[in-house]
Amino acid sequence: MNKKQIPQKITSLRKLMKKNGLDGFLVTDNLDQFYLGGFYFYPHEAVFLITAKDVFCWTRELYLTDVAVRAPFMTTAADEDRLNTAIKQAQKCGLQKVGFDAAKEGYAAGRLLAQNGFVESDSLINTLREVKDENEIKTMRYACRMAYNAYEYVKPLIKTGMTELDVAAELEKYMRTHGATTTSFYTIVGFGENCANPHHVTGSRKLKAEDCILMDFGCIYNGYCSDITRSWWHGKKEPAEYKKIWQLVDKARKAGIKAVKPGMATRGVDNTSRDIIKAGGYGPYFTHGTGHGMGMENHEAPYNNQESDAILVEGNVVTVEPGIYLPGKYGVRLEDTVVVTKTGSKILTKK
């Protein structure tokens, strides 16, 4: 393989630029840079300028050797005044219409760019990032499998008297041992009444002999996230009401996953799960959207909620995670990460 071969993602970006009438595109967000170059810079430590011919990268000196090896298709140079250098380079190349991502660029930097003739653009790279390619799906499947396996591994280790933090430590240790670089968000482990708080912060609450458990967690593997939630009753005397809401949430999850397919409105996925919980009489206790897109970030478009106008396409990766929360008592949330396939969907968070 030619070492300087241009990655498909750059080619796709160029097509999208053309469609938007742009002859250049500036990339300053470090996740977008990871997406295009496969190399992780710290935030604010690199600037990319993509043109029809070139991919310029200005960064700190300490990255040069690594970038040369891992992203040889870029023209890379050390520069401490990167934004101004990019502006000059655009002029030198005679570019007429260079776009920048107005939702990601900081205000001060955006103004400098606008003053120098750069134009506001949609988040073109987000558009690309919403649809995962085969390799990305493979990576996410690995990250999701690892999260699922962590659940299977940890569940039998959980004993009365352990703290929420003890359980979180076991989960994270398992995932890191199996290749996760970090978690995709703060690991949530809740016991008892804490399960009723969708934003519970894992703490030193001890598990009682009869208690409910909720674990919502995920990891990052090779830059991509996983996300899974499991809830169950610990002990022998599962209250009838807990069982009832668990089954209702499970029904809503299964129906939600089944609704995920190309052409489906994300709002429709949300409706499918929400209607089941409403019909069961717990509508007001399902206080959040049914799911969110995932990729390099744990929350990204498309969102399975009422505010989103998105239509699912093959290659989207989304979560389905209905829940019912009874304040002061307990709560249930069940979540899987699924990928939209040609004809339907496939669960990624499984063995």
Partner: protein, 354 residues
């Protein structure tokens, strides 16, 4: 031990700063700024905060309201069902007749910044960044806990590091030890063996195994209630260290000590850098020390001030900073030694201990 919460005090002090700067309000949507002023942990897009010289408002969604239970006594929480949170805040500000409301240009994106500027909002410069340089007692207590967790976890894990383990396995051990002690997140966890110790940006490898006799470098920390700790240890594993390794370890250590000893309120940051750099340069390794000697820590792992050769700030009392000189010999090995210190009036206090 519960520590008194200073959020109310911080908000009061911030209002005083606003007034001094001639502003009648402040708008922020930055999770970091909102956490600083209220103590509430938020994600991007979950809320907007409007501070006025009188009342302070949170604009948020129903689902997020429970997070704000602890602050509802001094911040008015407004639920916004549909539409933009920023728009709701702008409307509130207009209703109150605010005329000169500030925002931080580097904490908003271009779209929001333009919306604010169109509405007549003005740049508040680095008002909050500067306030954040010196920490309140509750921030110091949280930071101290984060430092204690990292130090104790390392003490537990170091004797468990054995020949044949992968970098990733060691990172996992350390992560588990920090989490069990109450860390809420581990923002970075660098473990390097052998030649990888010379790479300042190395990420732990799943396959690289520890050999019988080689260099180890670990750079790690954790986040506790939002505040970060940061420390680095380097040592030779198994057998006798080569003379050259020992030499650079000793030079780095001398540089580390000189820098730590120099810390005190009022010292120009570049002099703290120079204290370490001088020693490494005189020993002939100036080119192999290619980063700043340290940085502030707080809600961000890399908070202000920067302790570098071109820094223009001075150290301030109650400002936590790292001291982390290093020498990296590409292809061979590297040494970095780092602790987090709290700058005091007459000197400093070490927060990360062995």
């Amino acid at each position: 031990m519960p520590v008194k919460d200073y959020s109310k005090q911080r908000l009061r002090d911030f209002k005083r700063l606003l007034k001094q700067a001639g502003l009648d309000g402040y708008f922020t949507a930055s999770p970091l700024e909102m956490r600083y002023l209220s103590g509430v942990e938020l994600s991007e897009g979950e809320a907007v905060l409007l501070v006025t010289l009188g009342k302070t408002f949170f604009f948020t969604r129903t689902m997020i309201v429970p997070k704000m239970a602890g602050v509802s006594s001094f911040i008015k929480v407004q639920e916004v069902d549909l539409g933009s949170l920023a728009q709701a805040a702008l409307q509130q500000a207009a209703q109150l007749g605010l005329k000169n409301t500030g925002f931080a240009q580097d904490k908003v994106n271009f779209l929001l910044g333009r919306q604010l500027e169109d509405a007549g909002y003005v740049s508040a410069g680095a008002l909050m960044d500067e306030m954040r340089l010196t920490k309140y007692p509750d921030e110091i207590a949280k930071l101290q806990t984060a430092c204690r967790i990292a130090s104790e976890a390392f003490k537990e894990v170091k004797p468990q590091i054995k020949t044949g383990m992968t970098e990733q396995a060691v990172a996992a051990l350390l992560a588990g030890a920090m989490l069990r002690r109450g860390a809420e997140a581990i923002p970075f966890n660098i473990v390097c063996f052998g030649e990888n110790t010379a790479d300042a940006h190395h990420t732990a490898s799943r396959t690289r195994k520890l050999k019988k006799s080689e260099a180890v470098l670990m750079d790690f920390g954790c986040q506790y209630e939002g505040y970060c700790s940061d420390m680095t240890r380097s040592w030779w594993h198994g057998g006798n260290a080569p003379a050259q390794y020992e030499k650079i370890w000793n030079i780095t250590h001398a540089a580390y000590r000189a820098c730590a000893k120099s810390l005190r309120a009022g010292l120009p940051c570049r002099e703290a850098d120079a204290a370490a750099r001088r020693i490494i340069e005189e020993a002939g390794f100036g080119k192999q020390f290619f980063h700043s000697v340290g940085h502030g820590v707080g809600l961000e792992v890399h908070d202000g001030p920067l302790l570098g050769p071109r820094s223009v700030q001075e150290l301030e009392e109650n400002s936590p900073v790292t001291v982390e000189p290093g020498i990296y010999l590409a292809g061979q090995w590297g040494v970095r030694l780092e602790d987090t210190y709290l700058v005091t009036a007459g000197g400093s206090k070490k927060l990360t201990k062995n």
